[in-house]
Structures are given as structure tokens and as C-alpha cells.
Amino acid sequence: MAIFKNANKVIDIIEEFFNTIDQGVLVFKEGVSNYLHGNQQAFNNNIATMAKLEADADSLRREIENKLYTHSLMPQLRGDILRLLEEMDDIIDTAKKNLFQFDVEVPNIPAELNQDLILLTDMCVSSVSSVIPAARAYFRTPETVKDQIHRVYFYEKEADKLAEGIKRRVFRQMPSLKLSEKIHLRYFTLHIETVSDSAEKVADLLSIMAVKRTI
């Protein structure tokens, strides 16, 4: 039936959108690590991939939006779903912006901070990786969403703690750095942290949406 064909197409696009976000944050993680280890060529490749994934996510989101309206699917939940997709798109946008900032501003990062920054990126990416299954669950088993999003909150908190630790270290234990460098480092820590904040926003939205959908 045509109506189910359209529905299946929309489902496929939604899945593809989630996959794109997932890949996006993995590339982000790789990009940060390559920058910290000075692999310029690999980092440039990461930036190119990231830009492509971000553009893909945007166009997929727009396609979903169009399809939902043109086939008048889910009129009651459409608003919520589109907001969810926008918030998720925001994650990949933030990740892309961060990588580009590394490229543009070329922050001078002391090697002793590498490990901490990689760990922070790991936490942020984990928080996003945990929110994606929760978003998928919203569409099929909304009652299980709550069981999945607590991980997001955990990783977000860990990321917060790590970021604070890094900032503390930069300002208190690294007298050799200039104040401008310290402030620069603080911003970059903040930039990475925003990825997990976006994931937390999605989790908040999902928890409300799941309650609305639980019958």
C-alpha cells in the first residue's frame, strides 16, 4: 500500500539520520585525538568528513520534515518529533563547529593535557552514543526510553567533572602558560563539553516525550 510505502521511507530516513549523528560524533572524537597528536593530514580528513556528515544530517532532517507534513503523518506528535530531530541535529552542528574551531584557532595545547582532553571527548561522545538508542526506542518502545537515558545523564556529569578538573589544572598548575593561552584552553574545554550538554538536552526532551507517548 502506498501509505505504508511512504511510512517505511520515512522510517528509513529517520534511521539514516540517527546513523549520521552517530558517525558524526565518532569522527569528532577521532578529529580531537588527531589534533592533539599532531596528525595534521588525518585531522584535515576528519574535518572534511565532518562537514559532509553535518550537511547530510541537515538535508535528512529537512526531508523528514517535508515528508511528515506532505503525508500528514503523526499530526499529534509531529511538533515534538521535529523538535527532537532539531536538537539531535544540534549535536552534530556543535561537534562540527568544535572541530572547525580547532582548525581555525589552532590552540596551543600542552602535551600533559592530551590524555585529559581525550577522556573528556570520550565522555561527551559516550553521552551522545547513549542518547541515540534512547531516541530510537522512542519510536518503537517508548516505555524503555527512561531505562536508556540515565546513561546520558551519567556521562554528562562525568564530562562536567572532567572539564572542571582540566580548567582547574590549567589555571592553577600551569604557571608557564600565558593568561591568553589559559583562557584559550578554557574555551576549548568548554567547546568539547557543549557536545555532552546538547546530548543532555535531547535526553530531557526525550524523557518528556516518552511520558506523553506511554499509554
Binding site: 505504508f4 511510512a7 517505511n8 520515512v10 503523518l73 503523526m74 499530526p75 518503537r140 516505555e143
Partner: protein, 583 residues
Amino acid sequence: MFFFFLTSGLFLGWSLGANDAANVFGTAVGSKMISFRKAAIIASIFVILGAVIQGSGTTETLSQLGSVDAIAGAFTVALSAGFIIFLMTRYLIPVSTSQAIVGAIIGWNLFTGHKTDFSILSKILLTWVSGPVIGAIFSAVIFILFRKLLRRLKLHLVVLDIYIKWGLIIVGAFGAYSLGANNIANVMGVFMSSAPKVVVDLGLFTLSGPQVLFLLGGIAISVGIITFSRNLMNEVGNGIMALSAEAAIVAVLSQAVVLFVFSSTSISELLIGIGLPPIPLVPVSSSQVIVGSIIGIGMVKGVNEIKFKTIRGIIGGWVLTPVLAGLLSFFALFFMKNLFNLNVGSEVEANEIVVPVAAASEQINETGSYINLFWPAFSLSILALFIFIIIYSYKQQKRRLAAERELLEKEKEYNNARKALTESEIKSIHLENAFLHNELEHKRKELVDYALSIVEQKEFFERIYDNLKSIREENKQDIRDEKIRQLEVEIGQRMSFNDKVDDFNIQIEKMHKEFSSRLSIQFPALSENEKRLAILLRLGISSKEMATLLNISPKSVEINRYRLRKRLGLDKGTNLIQFINNI
């Protein structure tokens, strides 16, 4: 005259449609799952079907409560009920037509002195109470099963949404059918004793007198749905409880089942057949049942979601409705009788036993004058079909044209884009051609230069050869020395390469014209020599080579480089070549 008096019944039907259709399609329309137009069409068709096919059972019960035996009385009773409903609908209170009509009939009983049959009344009141309770139980059970099913199926939200939409349509149609079957008694019950004794043949089926009334009542309800139910649909859909679409299906289904059960003679007979007590066929308030159903769902989910304030308001309306309708009916009958001198019903003494004039079911079977409406009905249907086809094809045509226009515009856009692309391609090919032409010219010039230089070199060497020869042959020492000195000068001049270096500089400046102009804009204080140095640095030429090209010592090149750095304002850490490359 009969049709004039029937208008109050039709008005009541209209009120019922305006009011009760919201119970069936309220959530579906309120949540925008189904458009109001679609809902109104489906509800109208199924209400008429329910009324005509299954409307007799409940009508009989209502006739037993008070058989209004004069058409003017029936008119007044229906008018009073209709007016009260209209009034309450105006204030967006979902009222019950059943209660209004029962109140009005009791008003008639009181006015004419007929005895109200309390056993029937208690039966009716009991169903009013049991209806919502059964609705609650049904909906709770259906809801639990439905939830289990959904959890097991794990459908994707998009697919589930499609199922729900169709579910709402099917359940809504069933609800409308049950509403027509159960509530037509409220609309046409009081007119039963005045029903025309006719049999109307419509070709495919025949309608008895009461069924003609049911059909008219059904049509009146449909008109009510189409013209006046939109606001209330949104009120019910969004007011009582924030119903999810899944819960709405359950609520409407349970309401439809309750209304169906309370109006189905076949189920009642089936129960009698297996030795169980029959189901009382009573018009139940669909509003009461739907609220019961919603409470049932609320109890399964946890009662927090029910807006008790709205429910209290509705219950208040229910108490108010029969009382107001009864009072209005009583006074209206008084006016009708005394002011217009109309016969509103046979008056009896309080202790007289009244035998109902005629039960509706008996009337349905009774044959009266035969009216053959086959051809009118047939031609009307053909006409309707014809109009439908015209409208449909017109709409299709319009849609097709719109789609074609859109396609055309897209094609135009595509062509424009292609044209722009082609133009830019042509432009780039032109540029490339110009570049290649320049290159060719340059090569040709190089070749000519090379040839000239070979000729010139040949001449030079020939000259030296001749000079050397003449020096060797010269015997005089002083002339010999003079010739050697001249030769030395000639060779020295040749070694300065000045012309070549100038040529090289001109060529380089030509090739790096853009860079040179950028440099002049950004650093206007740079001298020509400094610019040249910058260009050579950009080309990646070493200091030693530069010294040769600029005809200065390598040490001077280093000094020039240092000056250039200062002029460009570079600090110690910045790489000069990288900086120049980035300009």
C-alpha cells in the same frame, strides 16, 4: 401540518448531532488525526444507517415512559428538550439528549396527568448509572489488552500512527452507527404515535412509517454534526483529559459497544434465548458513557490525568438538563394549550391506567398506504452520483493542473540552473583558451629568443675566435696587449648577464602580477627590490641563487631578507616564507 410539528423533532436531532458527535470523533478531530470534514461525513452516514436499521428498540422503551399521543404535544416536548440542549451547547457544556427528552416527557406526563411508569423510569435511570460504569469497565479491559498488544507488536511510531488513524475512522464509524441506533429514540420517540402509516419503497429496500421518521431524524442529526459540532469536538478532544490517540480509540470503542448493546434487539433476544435476563433497550447518554470510558482508562493509567473540574461541570449539566427540560416542557405545554388552543395530549385522571398507544416495533411491522419512491430515489441517486463525479473530476483536474504547473516550474528552474552552468562552463573554457594562447605565445617567444641567443652566441664565439687568432698572429707586444685587454673587457661585459636578469625579472613580475598587487595593497611602503625579493622567496629560490639573480653577494641577500621582515612587521617566531605564501 404534520411536517411543521415534526420540525421540533428535527431541531432536537440537529442539537443531538451538534452535541454528541463530539463524543465519537472529538479526540480524532481535536488531535488533528482526522480532518473535521472527513469525520463529519463518516459520522453523518453511519448515524443515519444506525437510526434506520437499529433505532426501533430504544424508541419502544421511550414510548412506554410516556406515549405522547398528540402531535402538538410531541412538538412541544421535543421543542423544550431541543431548546435546553441548544442553550447548553451554546455554553459548550456537553449535555445529554436522553436526559433532556426524558425530563420533557415527564413534564408532559405531569401536565396531562398521565401516570409516569416508574418501572420504566427506574429502568432508564438505572441504565444511566450503569451505562458509564459498564463503559468504564469495558474501556479499562480494552485498554489493558490494547496496551499489551501494542507493547508486544513494537510497531514503529510512523506505522502505528497510520493504524491509529484508520482505527479512529473505523471505531468512529461504529460509534456513529451506535449513536444513531441508540439515540434516535430521543429525537423521534415522542412522534411515534403520530407516525404516518405508510410503506415507502426505495427499490433496494422498503421503509416503514417509523423508519421514515428515523431517516428524517438521522438526516437532522447529520445536519447538526456538519453545521455545529466543530467547536465541541475540539472542546471534548482537548478538554476532559489529554487523551492520546490510542486511548481515544479505546474510549470511543467502549462507548460504541455500550450504546450498541443497549440498542440491539438481537443481543437482547439472544440473552433471552440462553435463559438470561434481557438487556434493557434504553437510550443512554453517549456523553455519560464516554466520560465513564475515559475514567476507566484513567483508572488504569492513574487518575491524575482526569480533569475533575470539567467532569464536575458536565455532571452538573446532567442534573440540570432533565429538571430544566421538564419545567420548560410543562410551561410550554400550558401555553400551547391555553394560548393557541392546541391539543397537546389526552388528559387522564391520576388513577386511570394508560395503555401505550402503539409500540414502535408494532408500528414498524404494520403496513399502511404504499408509496413507491423507487424511481425518484433512483433518479436522485443517479443525480447525486453524477454531481459527485463532476465535482470529483473537477477536483482531480485542478490537482493535476497544479501538479503540472509545479513540474513545469521545477523544469524551468532546472533549465535555468543548467543554462547558468553552461554559461559558466563556456566562460571557463574561454579563460582556459586565453591562458593556453598566452602560454603558446610565450613558448614561441622563448623559442625565438633561444634561436637568437644561439645566433648571438655563435657570433660572439666567432668574434673571440677571430680576435684570439689575430692576437696570436700579432707580433707587436703593445698592440697585442691592447687586443688582449679589449677581449677581456668584451668577455667581462658578457659575464654580467644584465639583460637576461632584467628579462627574468620582467617575466617573474608578469607571472606573479596578482601577488605583487596584493603585496602593494597590504604593504604600500615596500620598494621594488623588496617586492622582487618577496616574489623570489615565494618561488622558493635559495639565497645563493638569489644572489646571482640580483647580482649581489649572499650576505647582502641575508641583510635584504632581514629588512623585508622588518618592513612586513614580523616578529621572531614567524616564518617569513610561510607568511609570504599566505598573502
